[in-house]
């Protein structure tokens, strides 16, 4: 084997792939060959490095130099300067650290330095398509330990002691779930994985599957051993083609190596995993609906109890954990429950992956210990709100979640605190909103989503959410009344109390939390017929300030509705009855004479 003196890691997560990672890989391979370095420098395709906003991302080891916004044209320079002459290309180095000269190493950057990567430990580090690299990073060591040194009950006890809770949304203790399934009698049980990550704004499961698929397969096998299952399914969204591809490859490889199939590690334990593709129904992320969907039917939820641990897939005891939950399991087995429980807070142990999106500089994936204050996530790791705008709120938990207002920015993020302030962890999507976002409109956006995705089985969800949506639609059109606000609360209470499954029970949350924290915005829409954020089109009026207008006519020329008229060199006026509120005039005006409100 050749001595490899440097590794070039190219992120091939979804973000970087679409930004041109493939071209960069082939450029590196060409250039290395051209410079005679192809024997001593290896190019590795990795999973997501996290900082999707600045992709394509490349890391060069042994130094750990972190390059952003790399293009294929930059590759010759990196090869010649850095790999041949040993001088990192400073203009491409990620520069968010306080002292840019020191930020040559990935782990020194403000984005990474406070992160503790457990679930994402291998993402961006190994080639997800190569089982040998996974093994080199302790892969399948946990499974070996479990099968040869531990009893199923010891495995469950270890998971219980770690304090791991389900990372998919509800936060149910994982060890307890396993215990229930283990206690259920019967020769046939299933250990399944929920990879139907449907919450808009969350993509941590996608990144784990794309960056470290073996860690999920290994953990599922461990779960199977713990509860006494011999079979499992992983239900993954068809919208994630790269993840599906890598999972299939990983399954093949682990069969080949004997980590799946009959008599794993020469023991009498056998386990196998099948892949099932979702077909685009959000409700299938709900556990009973997911199982009905694996059974090949319309994914409508069932009543609970009986819980899946007693009667689940094909009527047999089943556990269902989400991808991120599984991604923690092998680490816990390898490092011990104590090490895991040492991280986080009293009631929420370990780390949590968040997907930062929306109005924030460093969009991407971050993994931090539970209890990290929101302020640190937004301002330090996330790099703040772009364009000098004011931070307004962060939306967590997708359509089931809530908006945390700026006044709560110092709250430490864990399950208990989020519940206390009326929000929820959800799957970990965090959409940052700034002063231009209308909270009524955001609530309407989420209700539109749940209206579309309601399966229609129970009426509180099917009819109730639609009525709530209609009311919000009225309010954003300037036709709401104060009475509507009371009706919203009343409907919300009924739906929360009576809907069949989690989708319906949590659907009113975005409305309730915005009503609670941003009531003044609702009132402004209803009473003053005004949208304070300037986002609801029906309530906007564009006006020209005669004192600032120079009469250049630029606005009237760009107006698609011929709504602006005037005489050159004297102030122009907008005819409100013709104005379609597109905002083109405001963008065009060089004198800042046009305002909206």
């Amino acid at each position: 084997m050749n001595f490899v003196r440097a590794h070039v890691l190219v992120c091939t997560g979804t973000g970087c792939s679409s930004a041109g990672a493939e071209g960069i890989i082939s450029a590196f391979e060409d250039q290395l060959k051209k410079n005679g370095l192809d024997e001593e420098v290896r190019v590795v395709k990795t999973g997501c490095l996290g900082l999707c906003a600045k992709g394509p991302n490349v890391v060069v080891y042994p130094e750990g130099v972190y390059y952003n916004y790399v293009s294929a044209e930059d590759v010759p320079e990196i090869v010649e300067e850095h790999l041949l002459k040993g001088r990192p290309v400073t203009r491409l180095i990620h520069g968010d650290a306080e002292d840019a000269s020191k930020a040559t190493n990935l782990t020194d950057t403000a984005f990474y330095k406070d992160q503790v990567r457990i679930a994402l430990r291998n993402c961006g580090v190994i080639n997800p398509e190569d089982i040998d690299e996974y093994i080199a990073y302790d892969g399948y060591a946990a499974l070996a330990k479990v099968l040869t040194e531990m009893t199923p009950q010891q495995v469950i006890d270890e998971i219980k002691a770690s304090g791991l809770k389900g990372r998919g949304g509800a936060g149910f203790p994982t060890g307890l779930k396993w215990q229930f399934a283990a206690n259920s009698p019967g020769p046939v049980k299933y250990a399944c994985c929920n990879a139907d990550e449907g919450d808009p704004g969350a993509f941590m499961d996608r990144s784990v599957l794309e960056g470290d698929p073996h860690s999920v397969l290994e953990a599922m096998t461990i779960a199977g051993y713990a509860i006494g299952a011999t079979e499992g399914y992983i239900y993954v969204r068809a919208e994630y083609p790269i993840a599906v591809e890598r999972l299939k490859k990983a399954l093949e490889q682990s069969h080949e190596y004997g980590f799946l199939g009959k008599n794993i590690f020469g023991t009498d334990f056998s386990f196998d995993i099948g892949i099932r593709l979702g077909s685009g129904a959000f409700v299938c992320g709900e556990e009973t609906a997911l199982m009905v969907s694996i059974e090949g039917k319309r994914g409508e939820p069932r009543c609970r109890p009986p819980y899946p641990a007693v009667k689940g897939l094909f009527g047999k005891p089943t556990i269902l954990n989400n991808v991120e939950t599984y991604a923690n399991v092998c680490w816990i087995i390898n490092h011990g429950a104590e090490a895991y429980a040492a991280l986080g807070t009293e009631g929420s142990k370990g780390t949590k992956v968040f997907a930062l999106g929306g109005k924030i500089n460093n969009t991407g994936l971050v993994e931090i210990p539970m209890g990290t204050p929101l302020r640190q996530i937004i301002e330090e790791i996330g790099g703040g709100v772009p364009n000098g705008k004011k931070f307004k709120a962060v939306q967590t938990g997708g359509p089931s979640g809530a908006c945390i207002p700026a006044s709560q920015i110092d709250v430490p993020i864990d399950y208990e605190n989020l519940t206390r302030i009326g929000a929820m962890m959800g799957s970990g999507g965090m959409i940052v909103l700034d002063e231009d976002d209308c909270m009524v409109d955001i609530a309407k956006f989420f209700l539109q989503f749940t209206v579309d995705e309601s399966c229609g089985k129970c009426s509180p969800c099917r009819i109730g959410i639609k009525r709530m949506y209609d009311i919000l639609d009225r309010i954003t059109a300037g036709k709401g009344t104060l009475e509507d606000l009371d009706t919203l609360e009343e409907l919300a209470a009924h739906i929360k109390g009576n809907a069949l499954c989690g989708l319906g029970q949590t659907a009113p949350n975005p409305v309730l939390s915005t009503l609670k924290n941003f009531k003044d915005e609702y009132v402004a829409h209803v009473v003053e017929k005004r949208c304070p954020a300037g986002s609801c089109k029906a309530l906007l009026n564009y006006t020209i300030d005669p004192a600032k207008c120079k009469g250049c006519s630029a606005c009237s020329r760009v107006c698609p509705a011929d709504a602006i008229s005037g005489v050159v060199r004297s102030p122009f006026v907008i005819d409100q009855s013709k104005c379609i509120k597109c905002g083109s005039c405001m963008e065009k005006c060089k004198f800042g004479a046009i305002s909206k409100g």
């Binding site: 979804t14 973000g15 792939s17 679409s18 930004a19 900082l51 999707c52 906003a53 992709g55 990550e197 449907g198 919450d199 808009p200 704004g201 969350a202 993509f203 996608r206 068809a238 919208e239 994630y240 083609p241 099932r276 593709l277 979702g278 077909s279 685009g280 129904a281 959000f282 969907s293 694996i294 059974e295 090949g296 039917k297 319309r298 994914g299 094909f314 997907a355 999106g357 929306g358 109005k359 969009t363 991407g364 994936l365 939306q395 997708g398 999507g429 959409i431 909103l433 976002d437 955001i442 956006f445 989420f446 989503f449 399966c455």
Partner: protein
């Protein structure tokens, strides 16, 4: 447009039908095999007209009603064909706050086919899709499997120009 009725006549070839038969044979005895068969049927034919649904129902030995029920429940099954270039705009939250509406409007205006429809020449179809998980690149549009991130309305023409 409700996805409940096929309006494009069936034009499957014997080869496609043979392919489907092979898939059905593979999954006939697999528990929960109906969905994988339907997913592959859609890959083979591009959509699931009534004729294909009947083949699946008869092949799998289940009522047609069940196949139709599944195909109208899940958003990935199409009862009508998609364009040669399938254009989708992500409707996720991150894309929403970063302004996907302007992107979608521009595409619809350029191609003249409303969301959920196919252009007259069958070349383009425009759809809004659920979060594709590329939130770091919001707003995002896709043409077939190619992802375009950090879109602005001005870039729409450049992207569409690649698919003639």
């Amino acid at each position: 447009m409700p996805n409940t009725k096929t309006v494009v006549p069936y034009s499957g070839t014997p080869e496609q039908e043979a392919q489907l038969k092979a898939v059905i044979a593979e999954y006939k005895d697999v528990p929960g095999g109906t969905m994988p068969v339907m997913q592959q049927a859609q890959e083979i034919f591009g959509y699931l007209p009534e004729e294909v649904q009947i083949m699946i129902a008869e092949g799998m030995g289940i009522p047609l009603e069940e196949v139709y029920g599944i195909s109208t429940f899940y958003s990935l099954y199409n009862l009508n064909p998609k364009g040669q270039y399938k254009i989708t705009v992500c409707l996720g939250t991150a894309c929403y706050v970063k302004g996907y509406q302007a992107i979608l409007d521009k595409i619809v205006a350029r191609l003249g086919c409303p969301v959920g429809s196919i252009s007259k020449d069958g070349k383009y179809s425009v759809d809004a899709t659920r979060c594709v998980g590329a939130c770091g690149l919001a707003p995002v549009m896709m043409v077939n499997d190619d992802v375009y991130g950090r879109m602005t309305p001005d870039q729409v023409d450049d992207v569409l120009a690649k698919y003639k």
